[in-house]
Subunit: 226 residues, 2 copies
DNA sequence: ATTACTAAAAAACGAGTAA
DNA sequence: TTTACTCGTTTTTTAGTAA
């Protein structure tokens, strides 16, 4: 079963009151709640149970379930996502701490082939370096992972006479609600999912008076609207 | 595609910012957001479009979508359901206006075979009549429809020498936060989905001083907890 | 009454590809 | 580049039924 679909079944169980206590739910009854056959209802409960999302017990031959803490956490996350999507659709707000990397980002951003595309896609020539931000909140690290999977806008890789440079992906961003910029993901095999690299036409450290350890906030735009 | 699953895709589109404006979403990009193939992403968008949940346009060969009002309404409903389920799991609160029916309910509730089962299941002998409540809020009528589909606790039908009496379904209820009772659904082919019938050990009209047109509130319990 | 196995049917999926 | 068709494969579902 697709992982996301489990959320839908968990919602129904929550509506039935399976939080904090076991509720008595014959699979024949659940089949009507879920809108599937009795057999599927049975399988669904067993799958949720295997996945650690519900506790299950059969009492007098009748299924009883209770959503586990793990299951509730999933539901809370879904609720949070839905609320955030309603409040600020298309935008993810990040915050993290500035730190100094190994100058790797700067090395790439200086490459002509990349710079040209940045200008074409983003409308600015980036300052020749990246601002490294270390995320600390668990949910933001999770969002960073998702963004990486989504990829965003592709910046094509290239090769010079020495080596190959892979594709890079960017999302537009707004730093401290004032300065335009973008976040950049390289398609490296090794990366730290707690880290986000920001590019911008400005030298952000000076412009914002930032030093290592300072908190920085920025918004990332998931799509180009029309 | 299962109807409920569309909600999950709509959530992703909302997260991307497809509210109030079109967003540019190549199906290759969506395939990563949705976690499916490009072909499936394409099919999903077309299905959502056919279902009137998103507006779709292909500009310069690239898909652009915007969630329709109908789609947003679905998402709002999901959000509301989730919030309600968290706030009062297992309970639905109703309110409606008392009215006088045709005494049909009373006729059934007086039948011995039903009364015995009511006592066994609910723990009380109902007053020989039902209190008819007319729902007025759209979302409560919708909830009533859902409850009817779920059926609840079955009370077996029977037959006497004249005719057959069908199965009946009940849910426990609490009237005006004080009096126990239950709501009853007969498996009739004709019924008014705006109406709920309440049974209770008490003659509710006298006990609560109700007359036609008075507002009554009650909570319905979706499942028997353990 | 239940739950849940098996086998067959139905639905969903994605690779290949045309436009 | 796109989108989205066909079609073979995989996955999911349910009817029948045993326990």
């Amino acid at each position: 079963m697709k992982e996301r679909i489990k959320d839908l079944y968990l919602i129904e169980l929550l509506r039935l009151g399976a939080r904090g206590k076991f509720i008595r739910v014959p699979t024949t009854f659940l089949s009507r709640v879920f809108g599937v056959s009795q057999q599927t209802a049975s399988r669904v409960i067993n799958l949720l149970h295997k996945g650690g999302l519900v506790d299950k017990d059969i009492i007098n031959g009748v299924t009883c379930v209770k959503i586990t803490e793990k299951g509730l956490e999933r539901l809370r996350k879904l609720k949070r996502e839905l609320e955030e999507a309603f409040n600020s659709p298309g935008v993810i707000e990040f915050e993290g701490k500035v730190f100094t990397g190994f100058g790797e980002g700067a090395y790439y951003v200086k490459k002509r082939a990349y710079r040209k595309q940045f200008f074409k896609i983003l409308g600015f020539e980036p300052y020749p370096g990246t601002l490294n931000v270390k995320l600390e909140k668990k949910e933001l690290i999770e969002k960073n992972r998702e963004l990486r999977q989504m990829r965003g806008i592709k910046v094509l890789g290239f090769e010079d006479r020495f080596r190959t440079y892979g594709d890079v992906y960017v999302y537009r961003a707004l730093i401290e609600d004032t300065l335009e910029g973008a976040i950049v993901y390289a398609e490296r095999t090794h990366y730290d999912e707690r880290v986000i690299e920001i590019i911008s036409p400005y030298y952000l450290r000076r412009r914002l008076g930032l030093k290592d350890g300072d908190l920085i906030r920025f918004k990332v735009f998931l799509s180009q609207s029309l």
